[in-house]
């Protein structure tokens, strides 16, 4: 015990109040956390929207091509390349390539949104594709046999069932994305993690800022998870016997 805490000065706990004051109150330093939180949430939300739109388009291209190999051959090839490259390289590398090479003159936060959105889209695409393919073929046949067009059958019959199948997986992707954005500080985006880090660099106290931001991430994830279970309960309405 003694050796374990040897490096912690006795005054540590008694100084906690003073440290809290230095870390967050003095010179309005809590603003780093607030602004960081705002950026993290904004970054995640925009990336999610880009990811879902991009993922849906890619999934539709790949399914259309799979059902009829003559259609969209070039587009399907591009989508395949996109999935392979994005899923085969680390997101932090993608982020740096976007910020330092491809869109180096742009606003960093906007570029980061784009980078995370493009990254997320690749994962969402595969989730949506598997969701659409999990719907029984008989459902499409039933829709078509009633005289509904292929498009209407997809919109009215296949998508609602696919959505129900993939909602948990997509939501998990959002949660993962929220945590993943913590690397945005790497390219200078002042997100939540970076906010805590800035305070640490000013006050030389790592303890309170790190645990505070960890706590904030945890609360956000718990909130999202409870949203997810609410959503699942609503989607299960038609399963009750």
């Amino acid at each position: 015990m003694n050796t374990l805490f040897a490096s912690v000065p006795l005054s540590f706990f008694s100084d906690l109040g003073q440290q809290f004051y230095d870390d967050f109150i003095l010179k309005d330093r809590y603003q780093y956390i607030i602004r960081g939180l705002g950026n993290t949430v904004l970054l995640t939300l925009v990336a999610v929207v880009i990811g879902v739109v991009l993922g849906t388009v890619v999934a539709l291209v790949r399914i259309t091509h799979q059902n009829n190999p003559k259609k969209l051959r070039v587009l399907n090839g591009i989508c395949g390349l996109y999935l392979t490259v994005i899923r085969g390289t680390p997101v932090v590398v993608q982020l740096m390539i976007m910020v330092y090479l491809i869109l180096s003159s742009g606003e960093t936060l906007l570029v980061a949104m784009l980078a995370f959105g493009i990254n997320s889209g690749a994962y969402v695409a595969e989730v949506i594709r598997s969701g659409i393919q999990s719907v029984d073929r008989g459902q499409i046949e039933a829709g078509r046999s009633l005289g509904l067009s292929n498009r209407t059958t997809m919109i009215k019959i296949v998508f609602p069932q696919a959505l129900k199948n993939v909602a948990p997986a997509i939501f998990n992707e959002f949660i993962a994305l929220l945590k993943e954005t913590s690397i945005a500080g790497y390219v200078g985006v002042q997100d939540l993690t970076k906010g805590g880090d800035i305070i640490r660099s000013i006050t030389y106290d790592a303890f309170l800022p790190l645990f505070l931001i960890a706590g904030i991430y945890l609360v956000l994830v718990i909130l999202l998870t409870s949203c997810l279970s609410g959503l699942e309960r609503r989607l299960r309405k038609s399963d009750k016997r």
């Binding site: 009633l146 309405k237 399963d239 016997r241």
Partner: protein, 244 residues
């Protein structure tokens, strides 16, 4: 009403091409109840599915109400409105209530207003004694109930012909009767029907003509009495000796 000329269907698989239908010629008149029987793999379901193009024929012609439906310029969706289909596995839409299952197509295709479609749905449900299930979801129903609802879902489109693809094969034995009962009533009302089934008693009772298919061909066709009491084709005799 339906005219099939030298219909052929080949499935292209990795193991090579499989010729499932080897030239079928049929004329189905308005009001006829044609029952198709035969061993598994004989092509009877494929034949039925070629009639509304769920399978695209690879040869021959299919005509419906004076139009060739497997021609490139034919609007398939338009023609399917007039051909109801009932599947072996019901294929009700699990995310919709029973009533929504029935009204989805008429409303989406703007054939009826919401109100008209709802009234028609209730009327159809009353007819099969399931009006109390209008707001239930398919998962809450028995197999027999699901299949009866699948039948009225097709009827809600007011089709000119009904195609049945082994409608009782996936049912518990005790539920077969209630589905056949609905089909018999439909037959009595004069609906043109093409039924693929293993229910020989239904065939004997309802059919105006029975086709025996094996190996992608129609080997024998006859009225029920002739078909069961005086089968000519040796393959049919063998088949009947096993199933009767």
């Amino acid at each position: 009403m339906i005219s099939v000329k030298n219909l052929e269907k080949t499935f292209h698989t990795e193991g090579g091409d499989i010729l499932v239908l080897k030239g079928i010629n049929q004329e189905i008149q308005k009001g006829e109840k044609v029952v198709v029987v035969g061993p598994s793999g004989s092509g009877k379901s494929t034949f039925l599915r070629c009639l509304n193009l769920l399978e695209m024929p690879t040869g021959g012609e299919v005509w419906f109400e004076g139009r060739q439906i497997n021609a490139p310029n034919c609007n398939v969706d338009q023609l399917r409105r007039k051909m109801g289909m009932v599947f072996q596995h019901f294929n009700l839409f699990p995310h919709l209530t029973v009533q929504q299952n029935i009204t989805l197509a008429p409303i989406t295709l703007k054939l009826k207003t919401q109100k008209e479609a709802d009234e028609k749905a209730i009327q159809l449900l009353n007819r099969i004694g399931l009006a109390d299930k209008a707001q239930a979801y398919p998962a809450q129903l028995s197999g027999g109930q699901k299949q009866r609802i699948a039948i009225v879902r097709a009827l809600a489109m007011e089709p000119d012909v009904m195609l049945f693809d082994e409608p009782t094969s996936a049912l518990d034995p005790e539920m077969v009767g209630e589905v056949l009962q609905v089909m018999k009533e439909l037959a009595k009302e004069g609906m043109t029907m093409v039924v693929v089934t293993h229910e020989m008693n239904f065939a004997r009772e309802v059919a105006t003509r029975i086709l025996f298919m094996d190996d992608g061909q129609v080997l024998e066709e006859a009225k029920p009495a002739e078909f069961f009491d005086n089968p000519k084709n040796p393959r049919l005799r063998d088949f009947l000796s096993k199933v009767l």
